[in-house]
Symmetry: C2
Subunit: 428 residues, 2 copies
């Protein structure tokens, strides 16, 4: 891992993989086709890309029961404990509607209500991601969303991984479709004969899924399109090089485009971590991916002072930030921009990915300057309410009309005045 | 105004004006040029498009004082009262950070903090929009944003309208630049020698501004790209046809693409409103714009039952909804999707545009199904905090490692286990 001096032009930015024109054309074609032909188009694309001919997209209760029967009970207990932690953390994000009384019975208010229906895309392929199920479904449930749908590409046997079905079952989710790719996004956005449309689609996917989400945005809401993972670690000489190296590699193994960086005030510590990274890399099952990330985007920055490091981190606004210094809580107070901050030696990043209760869907690519972790807020919407009585209208109508005329909007002024017309006021 | 029977295929959707390829190319060129040449490029484009050669972009204190001196004092008082109402309503949206205690001193938390800097685009041209200043700046101030910048295109004399400067002054905003168009968006996104960059850009603008906002999205945050205005009115025979017509026209005068619709159970009332709309249209200063909207997108829907109307409105999710029926509060309870609901005869829509206190930046084009009015939430962001002690780590490390291995992420498992390596645990 390369060791360099910290300079002002530090950046996390990597090119976003947003697909090429050919991929976009394919996605547009799939979307239009599913919109037109519904289930038949979904079946055709599933056969073409997932290699399975499905007569029924929906996962049956039998399949769920089988998955539960097959599943390791210790792992199931772990998932249940994680789900409880996640639920407890997200419960604190619930919002209430409110009214502001104006006078004479008049009021204005904000009504908070859950979205009607949301769809979660769970990626398939070689691995299963039950943690995605927990992290996306629980905030929607806490928000009060009535209909929560999961879509995920089936394996060559036409099945979903047990772990995904068990996670869904723990949360009481029963509407699960064995459909993936752009055709799944199309089905969720437009609806088909067997899959009713939703209002928002969340969850990660491959480039076709990301492109399809972008295309249907506006028709439905989508979550952020997440970039490759990042971790920044602030460490001084009180930290342990092998632990810091292990945490850097935990993010590096995600993606060849992942960005693992260390910022330290100690030259000696920097060298120790570089040695440890190489040592641990050699023993990793996903060595190739992790090595690509480390070599291309990984860096150890050595700075003169902790103040310089904090300034750099606030510029980077990393997705994950670990602080392993003698005074980690103090440093955390000074960091203004990060998706999630892991304080101290024992708060290793994977604890947040799987278990602690915070959400693992976090803003990447320096967007933590203005974006937030996935939360209950992403599954509610607000409606303004205005109720004026005759008395309140009477008191303020002339002011509203004046303000409207100042902006050249005469019809606005007349609308508010019109309530006096039958009383002979201000007839235009 | 056309009268039709309410049917299931009712829709508000109109084509979004997103510009043509030539306009997009122009915008891309401006963005790249401002990024490269900074102030000089901004000055060049201002001269080209606004017809003014500016030596200084920033509005001087003198200019603000002059605007205040020139301004109608009654209007200023109206604006101050509106600002107070808006502030009072938005204060209720403030969020607090929270922690959830885990055990042994461990905790996880959500920190809520304001964005560092935001920029508001105020459109110029023939009219002045001080209400945009109030509606965008106040939520940012309530959120606690430290730096709030206004940009707006100057008139041919190189000045901004008094009303905009007075509105800014009422709110204590002093950083105002006489810059408009795509060059203003570029300056806010990338920064120039004289304009420091911001983290989020809000506010409406013409097609070049909208395109520029889309292009810089990701680099900075943007608010929604609002479509043309909409109003849906639910009225029964207890409503007044002239008042309903006046309110329909208040939105029609905004834009030839605006969509004013009435839904009623009374055939006779429908006919009365149609007559009134025509009568009032003839006397409107902006008749041409309003007539285009009424003829192209305006409709009066006659339904069998109020239940059918409510179902239709929930499908439309209109930006503005007025309810003028015998039981407006009851009907409002049954509406799930709308940007803002105006209840009863005296809650004419312009009251919400200018004065009541709710925000007038609202979701259009049926997006109220999943989007919300502009609020304090748009100017804050959240950061997750995780702090585990050694005891808590010890208790849960094995679970986290198991969950990570279930997803095939060995380096994640090793990271969390690494804290035990010096104690001889689990060395891989």
């Amino acid at each position: 891992m390369q060791i360099v001096s910290l300079t002002k032009d530090i950046s996390l930015k990597r090119p976003l993989e947003m697909g090429n024109a050919e991929q976009l054309n394919t996605v547009k074609k799939v979307l239009a086709d599913v919109k037109k032909r519904g289930d038949q188009a979904v079946a055709d694309y599933s056969e073409k890309w997932d290699g399975v001919k499905l007569s029924e997209f929906r996962v049956s209760n039998n399949e769920i029961q089988e998955a539960l029967a097959n599943f390791d009970s210790e792992l199931k207990t772990d998932m249940e404990e994680a789900a409880n932690n996640i639920r407890k953390f997200h419960e604190m994000q619930k919002r209430s509607s409110y009214d502001v009384d104006v006078k004479d019975g008049s009021f204005i208010g904000q009504r908070v209500s859950p979205l009607d229906a949301v769809g979660l895309y769970v990626p398939g392929g070689s691995a299963a991601y039950p943690s995605s199920v927990l992290m996306n479904v629980i905030p929607a449930q806490v928000a009060g969303v009535e209909r929560i749908v999961i879509v995920s590409p089936p394996n060559e046997k036409g099945a979903l991984p047990d772990a995904v079905l068990v996670a869904a079952s723990i949360l009481g989710i029963e509407e699960i479709y064995k459909v993936g790719g752009a055709q799944a996004i199309a089905a969720l956005a437009y609806g088909t004969e067997s899959i009713a449309p939703v209002d928002k689609i969340t969850g990660p996917g491959n480039v076709f899924v990301a492109l399809a989400k972008r295309e249907v945005f506006g028709e439905v809401a989508i979550d952020m399109i997440a970039g490759p993972s990042e971790i920044a670690i602030i460490a001084d000489e009180t930290a342990y090089a092998d632990e810091v190296a292990a945490d850097l590699l935990s993010q590096a193994e995600h993606d060849p485009m992942a960005c693992p960086i260390l910022l330290t005030t100690s030259d000696l510590f920097a060298q120790k971590v570089a040695v440890e990274v190489e040592k641990q890399l050699l023993k990793l099952p996903r060595e190739k991916i992790a090595r690509a990330a480390v070599e291309k985007f990984g860096k150890i920055y050595v700075a003169e002072t902790m103040t310089d490091i904090i300034e750099a981190v606030n510029k980077l606004a990393p997705e994950h930030l670990e602080i392993m210094t003698i005074n980690p809580h103090e440093v955390a107070q000074k960091v203004r921009h990060a998706g999630a901050i892991f304080i101290g030696r024992y708060s290793s990043e994977p604890i947040g990915d799987y278990f602690a209760g915070t959400n693992h869907v976090l803003p990447t690519n320096s967007t933590a300057r203005f974006s937030s972790p996935l939360s209950v807020d992403d599954f509610i919407k607000k409606t303004s309410i205005i109720y004026y009585t005759e008395e309140t209208w009477q008191q303020h109508a002339a002011k509203v009309a004046r303000l409207a005329r100042m902006e050249g909007l005469e019809a606005h002024a007349r609308a508010v005045e019109s309530r006096g017309w039958t009383k002979g006021m201000n007839q235009s």
